[in-house]
Amino acid sequence: MPMVGEQKIRAGIVGLATYVPERVLTNSDLQKMVDTSDEWIVARTGIRERRVAAPEEATSDLAYQASVKALDDAGVKPDEIDLIITATNTPDMIFPATACLLQDRLGAKNAGAFDLLAGCTGFIYAVSVASQFIEAGNASTVLVVGSEVLTKIMNWQDRNTCVLFGDGAGAVVIRRVPGDRGILSSALGADGSGAYHLYMPGGGSRHPISAEVIEQGLQFTRMNGREVFKFAVRAMEEGSAKVLQRAGLSVSDIDFLIPHQANIRIIEHAAKKMNLPMDRVAVNVDRYGNTSTASIPLALEESLNSGKIKDGDIVIMVGFGAGLTWAGMLMKWYDYRR
């Protein structure tokens, strides 16, 4: 790893912003669409409402809104970006990469651009990839965006899935940060034997779009909630334990937890295992539902803006998702806004 003097190069977040579509869909709105109830959704998931993109809004549109604000937050101009990574499960098209559409709109003419697919874990995966580029000296400024329009891949007649997800985007700018701040460790994991616990079968090379595929509803998300739940609670524990171990820290060192926002029950389980009171755990699943790759930046931004995360705090981001995948990341927070 390249060193400057004695100092190891560390990557960290130096800009952050989010965007959510205007339209709010509440649990009582859902009650009119499928056989469900506000009580059931709140008790099992903690979700009260979610955002829904407009018909003409696609993932790159949300990503663009978040990115412009994140670049402004970082004080970075588009032509300074070396690399754009978009983490998404709902790209504008199968190809080209949504990151390329974003690159063009931003005018980031010096940037490489690609999409990264790792389910809801994609954001942590992408920040981890970005930090490797910075630490290796192959990029100085990376834009990472988690953006989703999940409401367009839901079956609005399937109460098992449609109540859970929402749309949104979050963008971060990654650069080298000074001193002992920045990303201290990350860990990525996968268990492909669980691929069919959460997936969208249609539209790829296995089941290309056809009238028959549409008739069978293969263009919609399918999920075995029970299996994903079990994987998720284990993944939260394992992801956090691994990044702590890699950073040479222990559970008592954690100041703040940013868990993937899929279900309050999974978040509470993780907090309990880590002995963290809920005021040191980011929660916004009540207002956005599961926004997949946007969930962690959305939660991080709220925690920052409300002053819950301070310079030097040990912050863990941890998540899980389709793949199945999981990941953790541990940062010593660098207060770039100071």
Partner: protein
Amino acid sequence: MSAVFNRVKEIIVEQLGVEPEEVKLEASFVDDLGADSLDIVELIMALEEEFDLQIPDEDAEKIRKVGEVIKYIEERK
């Protein structure tokens, strides 16, 4: 009371946030101890870990009362 009962009781108290006195053999997880389906999933996972067991979903679905869990674990130890 058996050693298994005491360990199971401790886990139920921890997972469901109930009082130890409420954890009786004839107590139903849902009706008496206020568990919902996700509480039961978490409980089964905690028991699997504590007793180093695999409890398949088909079996888990049949378990309704505290006594049934104890019996299930004792039979497999």
